[in-house]
């Protein structure tokens, strides 16, 4: 299964099924497993994209699910997916503060995974893609929105995670995409000019 297929699968998760699984897990903590199985991929991928290496992504994923399990009784409203990614959002932010207190969130392009996994080459290629490079140049709030959307959340869920209104999230998303377009065009123009000289 390719990564995007998994993302689509998670994104399309039936909220009512989530609600049923959450109700089970709130009665019996051991029934948390299906929720874990349903979201571990998406949460891990989100952490990996934000943190940039496997070890920290694993640590963050562990922290997210343990926190979700132990505080599930407090979950009351909104989608479970949105609630889970709210935790993920905070854990990733905590990781940045703890591990790289002096490094701004937007300068992650030079991070190197000291323990690359079997997919390292493929991922490196993806990260070398221009759009990926431009994405990390976006302001943190715009990048947050895009990353959460790419993790399978809808705008309303993203709004819940980042504590903004859905309208504000749509505007941030729009500004991010417009900015990405501008950056892409700016990088393409010199390349075409170079080709024209040849």
């Amino acid at each position: 299964m390719n990564a995007w297929h998994a993302l689509e699968k998670n994104a399309a998760a039936d909220e009512s099924e989530d609600a049923r699984l959450v109700a089970n897990a709130q009665r019996d903590p051991l029934a948390f497993a299906p929720l874990y199985a349903r979201y571990v991929d998406a949460v891990y991928r989100y952490c990996y994209r934000r943190l940039g290496n496997r070890a920290e992504a694993e640590d963050a994923t562990s922290a997210i699910f343990v926190r979700a399990l132990t505080s599930l009784s407090q979950y009351r409203e909104g989608t479970f997916r949105g609630w889970l990614f709210t935790i993920a959002h905070h854990v990733v932010a905590d990781t940045f503060r703890r591990v790289r207190p002096t490094r701004p969130l937007t300068n992650e392009d030079d991070w190197v995974d000291p323990d690359p996994g079997p997919d390292a080459h493929a991922i490196a290629a993806q990260e070398r893609s221009m759009l990926g490079a431009f994405l990390i140049q976006l302001p943190a709030d715009q990048r947050d929105v895009i990353e959460l959307r790419l993790s399978g959340l809808r705008s309303a869920e993203v709004a819940h995670v980042v504590g903004r209104t859905p309208g504000a999230v749509r505007n941030l998303q729009h500004r991010a995409v417009v900015r990405l377009r501008e950056l892409a065009e700016a990088s393409i123009a010199p390349m075409e000019e170079c080709r024209g000289r040849q």
Partner: protein
């Protein structure tokens, strides 16, 4: 189209790409759409490694068990009706699947005393068993031979009371001081029993194996396995937790077992079926021992329901190892698999990772892949190579000579990651060779 609408249209276009929603009525700027399409490809990121997923799953189960165990003291107090465990009398545990009408005929003193002790009035015994708005439980296995761990509601017609079923019996051996117990009188129940034919015995043996497999799948929702009996039993157990918490076939409160286990599964161990009989009125009986609890024996009554056998009721007899069924030695059933073992695959581990089976005996082995990745079960020496996709279960039959056999997953990397186990085949005889049957 006003530019102020563009964020909304872009949002809808993104939803169309991400979730397959309908695109916005008014088209988005093509350049922005192209950017969204490119962004979509950035959704790709490496999946978590299976060893990490398995490790985290174990950590979560341990954390969940601790959370669950924190609730146990209060529940245990209610269950015991205020008595300490050490003062609890030695009684057979009687679990029933037929609710109101049949409740009378095995209304043993133990059950009634327990009922009264926990303050549940007799009116509560005519409980409503299912809420119509509850979604059906999901299958835990797939395939043509999948056990129905979650049967649909059935209209089980109560059987008439069995003659002598309220008599008292006593253990025939093993107790230093024979004790009279309120329980089923097996000699009365078995009065009209006939040895089961091979097909019936095999079918019931497989059912017991299915039960073991379902229990081993109970890592996410222990209650659902009880639907293997009937829905009425399931909801009986769920609706009256204080009186009769969900129990597995070993008769031990499932929650206690879960709390005691450091990792999944939560199965019953390898059950040993000591005999199968056919009873009148389309019923059958069986005596089963769990190796996890060898001092006890279980008498099961099965009902021919929906074209198969359903475990309808069972009684646990906490007799010592020397227990001999009052009806005498069960007749042997030639060439029917009398041994059942179950191995469940999680992501990069087998549970159990050691299985012991008797030598030169047909053994039914239930394999279940409870992980999220493909796994296999391979024993080179026996010519066994079963590939299982997530959620899949297979049942194989084998006969092996005494010895030790390694089982492992031949999916690349899994054996090296520790997905190996040991099958010990024991016999009093000197081992010679192993012969796969199927």
């Amino acid at each position: 189209m006003a530019a102020s609408d563009e964020p909304t249209r872009l949002d809808r276009q993104f939803d169309a790409l991400l979730f397959g929603d309908a695109p916005p009525i008014h088209a988005l700027d093509p350049a922005l759409t192209a950017t969204l399409v490119e962004l979509r490809t950035l959704g790709a990121a490496p999946p978590p490694e299976s060893s990490f997923v398995a490790r985290l799953e174990r950590d979560l189960i341990e954390a969940a068990t601790r959370l669950d165990a924190a609730k146990l003291p209060a529940e245990a107090t209610r269950e015991r009706g205020g008595h300490s465990a050490s003062r609890a009398p030695l009684r057979p545990v009687i679990l029933r699947t037929r609710a109101p009408a049949l409740f009378a005929w095995v209304a043993t003193a133990a059950l009634l005393a327990l009922t009264l002790a926990v303050g549940i009035g007799a009116s509560h015994l005519g409980f409503t068993l299912r809420h119509d708005d509850e979604p059906p439980l999901r299958d835990v296995r797939s395939g043509a031979n999948a056990p129905q761990c979650d049967v649909q509601p059935r209209d089980v017609v109560p059987a008439p009371p069995r003659t002598g079923s309220e008599s008292r019996i006593q253990p025939s051996s093993g107790s230093e001081e024979p004790e009279v117990l309120d329980a089923w009188d097996l000699s009365a129940l078995q009065a009209d029993a006939q040895p089961a034919d091979a097909a019936t015995a095999t079918s019931i043996t497989e059912l017991i194996g299915d039960l073991a497999a379902c229990l081993d799948r109970a890592d996410v929702n222990p209650a659902r396995v009880f639907a293997l009996f009937t829905d009425s039993y399931l909801f009986f157990a769920l609706d009256m937790p204080a009186m009769s918490p969900p129990r597995d076939i070993t008769g031990q409160p499932l929650r206690d077992r879960l709390a005691a286990l450091p990792r999944p599964p939560f199965g019953m161990g390898n059950p040993r079926i000591e005999g199968v009989w056919v009873l009148p009125q389309s019923e059958a009986s069986a005596i089963v021992r769990s190796r996890a609890e060898p001092e006890s024996a279980y008498y099961l009554i099965l009902s021919a329901t929906d074209g198969g056998w359903l475990i309808d009721q069972f009684v646990r007899y906490p007799f010592p190892v020397g227990f001999v069924p009052p009806i005498g030695t069960p007749p042997p059933i030639a060439e029917s698999p009398l041994e059942v073992a179950a191995v469940t695959m999680f992501d990069i581990l087998y549970v159990p990772d050691e299985v012991t089976i008797p030598a030169d005996t047909l053994v039914t082995l239930a394999l279940t892949n409870a992980g999220v990745a493909d796994h296999s079960f391979v024993i080179d020496a026996l010519g066994i190579n079963e590939q299982l996709r997530p959620g899949e279960t297979k049942t194989i039959t084998l006969r092996a000579s005494a010895g030790t056999y390694e089982y492992f997953s031949d999916i690349p990397g899994q054996r090296d990651a520790g997905m190996v186990g040991k099958m010990t085949v024991v016999s009093e005889d000197v081992p010679t060779l192993a012969t796969p049957v199927s």
